[in-house]
Structure formats: C-alpha cells, structure tokens
C-alpha cells in the first residue's frame, strides 16, 4: 500500500507544491480530534487570560450562610463548603493551574533541551556523563521522586513546581540528544560538513529546527502530565495552601462532598480533565503533523 500511495503521493505533492504550511494545517484539521484539542486549549487559555476579570465573585470571599448551594443563576456552578462561588474560583484557578503547567514545562524544556543538545553535539565523555545523569533521573518513577522532594522541602506550590520540574527534564534531554544524533547522521548534515559549513551553523540551521518539532510535541503532551501531577500532589497534601483557588486543591478539598455536593469536586475535576484532554489531543495532532514517525519514542518519554 505504501508503494501505491507513495506514487500517488508524489502527484498530490506536486499539486500542493508551495503550500507547505497550509498543507500541514489541512492535515491537522483533517482529524476532528485535533480540532477539538486545539479548541479546548484555546478555551482554557482564554479562561486563564480573562477569567479573573469576568469572574462574578471574589474567589476567596466566604459566605458561611450560603454554603453548599446548588448551581443556580446567582452561582452558576454552586458554592463550596465555605460558601465561595465555585465558578469564580474555577476562573481564577485556570490562570494558576495553567501557569504552573507552563512554568514547570518551561523549566523542563529549557533544562532538558540544553543538556540534550550539549550531549548530542559534544559527544564523547560529556555525552556519556550527561546521559548517565539522564538515566539516573529516568530511573525514578517521576511522581514518586517529586513526592519525596516536595514532601521533604515542605508543602507549598513553589516546592511542588520545583519537584515536578526536577523530575521531568530528562525526557527532553534524551529526546533532543536522540534527534540530534539521528540528524547528525542524516545525509544533509553530512553534506553540510563536507561543504565546510561551520559547527555553529550546522547546530542552529540544521539541528535545532529538526529538534524543535519533537520537543514541541513532548512539551504539549507534558502540559497535561504536569497538571495531573500537580493534582496528585495536592491530593496527597503537598499542593497549594488555602485559600488559593488551584484546581487540584479544589478537587482534593471537594472530594469529601462528592456525595452531598457533587459540584465542588466535579467542576474542577472536569476542568482538569478537559484541559489535560485538550493538551493531549493537541499534542497528538502536532505529532501527526510535525513528527509522525516517533510515536513510540515520545510515548516512552511523556
């Protein structure tokens, strides 16, 4: 089948010549799940951006007389055990939860990519050393180590972020190094070497762009992982301090009311689920478009 479609593909390719970018967009949009993912991520990003401005109430103001109210016009998503408006807390929490994910992923990405590039490009003992470091980090189940680190440092959002960042960079390093090594052996890089192209130019012009695709995919998928990790640590008792409206903490606090006031836990629960779902779908979509051949690799790392 590949042969047939290959030759057909040549024809299609010719047809879509000079439409490189739009072809990728078209390929991305061809799968409705990708579009759903993108829509979810955009929605969540918008919520994070404008949420605090459109929230109807202050997220921390209590109304003990008005606690555990069912969803109503006044409180579209009800009130929690302290009479706070769940919708307002959700909207404020969007910024925080997304912010945590972005920050943690950002640190992981920067640290990991730097180390990966260094290892892949330098080779030799530097590579050997850095990769053993990566192996050691990857030898720990991430959340277990994060739990230990955050637990020892003491419960706070900052420590949780630090712990999650410390346990996630190695995947990037390994991915980047692998890509760099594979690319280094690609003929176009060998050709560039022969053409006396400088090391710096090879790195920036030939290696980095190849690395960008997989890294973006991994980072997108990672966003979901970080959000789930934060929620998990919150549940264990290492998350945000009250009264911070952070989704994981809200969900964890609300679990005692699951039976009596379902909205307290389920609202942030659904929000987390949709966010993670959105990033996962988006990441999958990007992978199909940017990096279709490395499915198992990223799966291993994310």
């Amino acid at each position: 089948m590949s042969g047939v479609l290959g030759s057909v593909g040549t024809a299609v390719r010719r047809r879509y010549r000079a439409l490189r970018t739009s072809r990728k967009v078209a390929a991305f949009c061809a799968n409705p799940l990708n579009v759903v993912g993108l829509a979810l991520v955009v929605a969540i990003a918008v919520a994070a951006a404008v949420g605090p401005f459109i929230a109807p109430y202050d997220p921390t103001t209590q109304q003990l007389t008005n606690r555990l109210q069912h969803p109503s016009l006044a409180h579209p998503l009800g009130t929690d055990q302290l009479g706070r408006d769940v919708l307002s807390r959700l909207l404020h929490g969007a910024r925080l939860s997304l912010g945590i994910a972005v920050a943690v992923t950002g640190i992981r990405l920067t640290l990991g990519t730097t180390i990966g590039l260094l290892a892949g490009y330098a080779g030799g003992w530097t590579d050997e050393f850095l990769m053993r470091l990566v192996d050691v980090q990857l030898a720990f189940p991430g959340l277990v180590l994060a739990l230990v680190i955050a637990g020892i440092l003491g419960p706070s959002l900052r420590n949780v972020m630090l712990a999650l960042a410390l346990v996630g960079w190695a995947s990037y390093a390994r991915l980047v190094r692998g890509t760099v090594l594979a690319t280094k052996e690609r003929n176009f890089v060998r050709a560039a070497r022969l053409l006396n192209v400088s090391r710096f130019r090879i790195a920036t012009r030939h290696l980095l762009p190849t690395v960008a695709g997989p890294v973006v995919v991994l980072a997108t998928l990672n966003m979901g992982t970080v959000i789930l990790g934060t929620a998990g640590l919150s549940f264990i008792g290492l998350g945000a301090q009250p009264p911070t409206a952070e989704w994981g903490t809200m969900l964890s606090d609300g679990r005692h009311h699951l039976r009596s006031a379902w909205w307290i836990a389920n609202v942030p629960g659904v929000a987390i689920m949709l966010t993670v779902l959105g990033f996962t779908l988006l990441g999958d979509g990007l992978r199909d478009v940017l990096d279709p051949k490395r499915d198992a690799t990223i799966e291993k790392l994310s």
Partner: protein, 516 residues
C-alpha cells in the same frame, strides 16, 4: 507472617486467574454471622507504624485484647479494672490491690508478678525515659507486695497516677507473651486472631473473660483513615460500625433508615494556640481582638453540621476541672476587635497560622479563621503542614498561631495543662531553656497554679488551681477556643449495645448485639 503468605498466594493467582476472575471472588472478611461485627475506628487499628502505637506488640487502642490496671468512668474518673483498689500510702507510694480470678488468654491467672513484669520489663525498660516522665516512674520502682498486691514508687508526688495508668498502653501481659513476635496474651474480652498491618485486625471472643463472656463471637477492625472512605464503607454495607464519618455526610446518614448515628462528647477540645513570645502576637490586645473576631457557634452550626459544643476554654467539659462557664467570654464583637487591633502593636503584617494536614476539617476551619480575621483587619497566612514540618516549625517557634487540639487518652487529663501551658511543659521547655521564652507559657502565677493542681491530692484544690490557671490563660487570650469536640459513631441500625466513652478508644464491645 500469615499475612505474607496470603498476599503471595494472591499475587501468584493474579497471573493465573487473570482479570476475569477478579470480580467474582469472595471477601476475606468475617463470616456474616449474627454475632460478628466489623468496626472501623477513626485511626488505623493496626497502628500507624509508630512505635508508640505498637509498643505492646499491637495497637491496643480499640480492640480490648489487653487491659490496664485501671479504667476510666464516663465522667473521666479512675475506675477499678484489673486492680480493684488503690491507695497512696505516702506522697510517692501507690499500693494497688489486684483483682483475683482474672485469667490470661493462655489460661494462667493474673498475679502481681505479671504486673511487675509488664511494668519493669516492658513499659519502663523498652520505651525509655519518655515513659518515666509520663508515669513519674523509674525502672526498679515497681514491687510485688504479695500475690495480688503491687506497690509503685513515683519519682515525685503524683496524685494523678491511677488516672494516668488508666491507659490502653499500660497493659498487663504475662512473661509468656512475646510482644515482638506478635504473640499477645491479654486479659481482655477478646483474643487476637489475625492482624494484617495497615488493613485489618481480627479478634475472637475470650469465653473466660473475668467480666463475663462477651456477646460478639468475632470482631474485625478495619483500617480506613479517610473519613469519606469510612462513610462509604458503612453505606455500602461492608462494615457495621464506623467512627467519625465525614462531616459532610452526617446529615445524609441521619436520613437513612438502615443507619443509626450516635453523638458522644469527647475528651478533646479544638482551639487555636497563640505564640505569645513572638511579635505581634505577644500583644495581649491583638490576641483578645482575634478572640473577639470568632463566632464559635457559627462554626459549629455551619461547617461542623452541629457536631461539637462552642467552647470558651481549651479543656473539654467532660473533664471535671474544666472551667468553661467561669471563663472570660469573647463573644463575637467585631467593633471591639477592631478597636483592640488598632490599640495593639499590629501593623498589617500577615500572621502565620499552622495546621496539620491530617486534622479533620482543619483546612476548612483555618480558612474561616482567615476570613474572620480579615474582617477585623488582620491578615493571616495559612500553612497546612504535614506532621514533621509542623513540628519542625513549632519547635523553632516560627509561627503565630496553630490550629490544634488537646485530647486525653486517659482519665487523668492534667498533662494537657502541664504540657501546653507550664513553662516546663513539652511545648515550651526547649524554647524556654534555649532562649528564655516558650510558646504558650505565661509563667509566674500560672506555672504555680498548674504545679499545685498537678501535685495536690486534694481534688478540690486541684480543681480550683486549674480553673484559676485557665482563667489567667483566657484573660491573656493565649488560646482562641473553638469547640469541645463531639464525635459521631454511625452504625447499622440493627446494632445494639454500643458503649461509647468520652475517650473514644475506651469503647467496650462486649454488649454488641444485632436485633432482628
């Protein structure tokens, strides 16, 4: 070791049977007979892994396998148990008469030798100096007078001795018992049958119990430290009785016909203790202002669903020297509070309030405090910390407030006063010795009053001293009392014969029956 075996079996069969087989398999719990009951206490009945829980070879709190010499009455007075009588022959000597005809589970009769053995070999030796301070006993101070008489020589005058040893941990076992190997031989109405650490503990009826044969043939104590899980277990019908169901679920349980709920006042009291040696909470005006900001009854009526009594002092009213009524009152009065704040040295900085992760409703309560203080212009930073971090912080005195509670597991509750408010109490001693400060110790007169109360053999004098001390403490607003705790026990509606106790771990199961 049987536990290991079964797990290994389980593990090997998982591979063979596969997932399909999982759902259909039987429970390993009790035979579902009329006389067997499954109980879920508020804490892990097999112990938390903490040596304190397990020092008798098992956690003796809920199970009535082992027994102490003295028990406690419902109004927190020492009650004859394995000892039938006791007298202080001088300021530091207590002589106990043992009950005759008490059989251990292995059939031998309880004698003075067993008591001496239990104290000298186990209680005083294995646990070291902490126990010496607690019981005011040193090794070598327990003597056999005759077969059924034992004398204790306390290190200093200790009128609270009988009440203090009325504690599940101060149990009597014969020398044949091998605690470390898990061979527990007690005198209680139930014998230990099987223990799965962290999961459950099963006991069987001991027919020769000195108090008469208990009604249940078998009891299982399941571990479920999460209140919601306990509630779920009861609602799903997996267990017969649970302690402290989740607060949010109580009204739901009450509405159910097949479940009965009992409320029992406890020996515990919840309060906020204030570090009086750290600015700005070293300012009495500020501490009083904080007290005026709180409405105890609102808290009880809302988030606690009515479980608990609004408190005016730190000592539960089941304890006979609790001062409650006669203490200075700080009913919510935000104007007064604001005025006091402005008088005080407080200038807008955030106070720190610590609370332990595991405290029931802790996160909720502390947020109410935060909101209440905000309304009088005092801002509060909340730090929910796990046990170790919390202790680290309190040890160093780096906090302003701590949401905490006090509870006595023995009828003698004196140590609550001593350890919390006396300068040499465990909370204050280290900082006092290191820096001349402390945490909640007003010092001077209060120390004297507590010492008097602690050492007096005259009950009235003890009571008056303690009340005076509490008054001084509340005057200086060292604590913000919140509520005297009550606890709920929810059980299958068919169960009768509950015998609850202010000390939740003193419950007796001998009369449990099931009505048709």
């Amino acid at each position: 070791m049987t536990a290991d075996l079964s797990r290994r079996h389980l593990l090997s069969s998982v591979g063979g049977v596969g997932f399909a087989g999982l759902a259909g398999c039987a429970e390993t719990g009790l035979d579902d007979t009329e006389t067997a009951f499954t109980i879920v206490p508020g804490s892990d009945p097999t112990g938390t892994g903490d040596s304190w829980d397990n020092w008798g070879g098992m956690a003796p709190y809920w199970t009535r396998v082992v027994e102490p010499l003295v028990w406690g009455t419902d109004d927190m007075q020492p009650q004859p148990w394995l000892a039938t009588d006791w007298t202080a022959t001088d300021e530091t000597t207590w002589v106990f008469e043992l009950r005759e005809g008490v059989s251990f589970h292995n059939g031998t009769e309880l004698t003075a030798d067993d008591v001496v053995h239990s104290f000298e070999e186990n209680i005083l030796t294995e646990r070291g100096d902490f126990v010496h301070g607690w019981l005011h006993l040193e090794p070598g101070s327990v003597d056999r007078i005759d077969e059924f008489t034992v004398a204790f020589e306390t290190t200093d005058p200790f009128p609270g001795f009988p009440g203090t040893i009325a504690h599940n941990m101060i149990d009597i076992q014969p020398p044949e018992a091998d605690r470390r190997a898990g061979e527990i031989i007690g005198t209680g109405p139930f014998e230990l049958a099987k223990m799965d650490q962290g999961q459950q503990l099963r006991v069987e009826r001991f027919p020769d119990y000195w108090g008469g044969e208990p009604a249940p043939t078998e009891l299982a104590f399941r571990a479920a430290e999460d209140a919601t899980t306990r509630t779920d277990l009861l609602e799903a019908g997996e267990v017969d009785l649970v302690y402290e169901p989740a607060t949010s679920r109580i009204s739901g349980l009450r509405d159910r016909d097949n479940i009965r709920t009992e409320i029992q006042q406890s020996s515990a009291s919840r309060f906020v203790s204030i570090n009086i040696h750290r600015a700005p909470t070293d300012d009495t005006d500020l501490r009083r202002a904080l007290n005026y900001a709180i409405s105890q009854s609102e808290i009880v009526d809302t988030v606690l669903e009515g479980i608990g009594e609004p408190a005016h002092g730190p000592i539960s009213t089941v304890i006979d020297w609790a001062a409650d009524e006669s203490l200075p009152r700080y009913d919510r009065d935000r104007d007064t509070a604001r005025e006091l704040v402005s008088q005080s040295s407080y200038d807008g900085e955030a106070l720190t309030c610590l609370v332990e992760t595991d405290m029931d409703d802790g996160r909720t309560l502390v947020q109410i405090l935060q909101e209440a203080f905000k309304s009088i212009g005092v801002s509060l930073d909340i730090e929910v910390l796990e046990k170790a971090s919390l202790q680290d912080r309190t040890d160093r005195g780096e906090f302003h407030l701590e949401l905490t509670n006090s509870q006595s597991n023995s009828p003698a509750a004196d140590y609550i006063m001593w350890e919390n408010f006396h300068t040499m109490g465990i909370e204050n001693k280290d900082l006092y010795e290191a820096e001349g400060t402390g945490l909640y110790n007003l010092g001077g007169e209060v120390d004297d009053l507590i010492e008097t109360g602690f050492q007096s053999y005259d009950a009235t004098e003890t009571r008056e001293s303690y009340i005076a001390a509490q008054r001084a403490i509340m005057d200086a607003a060292v604590v913000i009392p919140l509520f005297y705790e009550e606890y709920v026990v929810a059980a299958d509606a068919s169960i009768d014969g509950l015998d609850l106790h202010p000390i939740d771990k003193f419950a007796q199961w001998g009369d449990l029956t099931r009505t048709a």
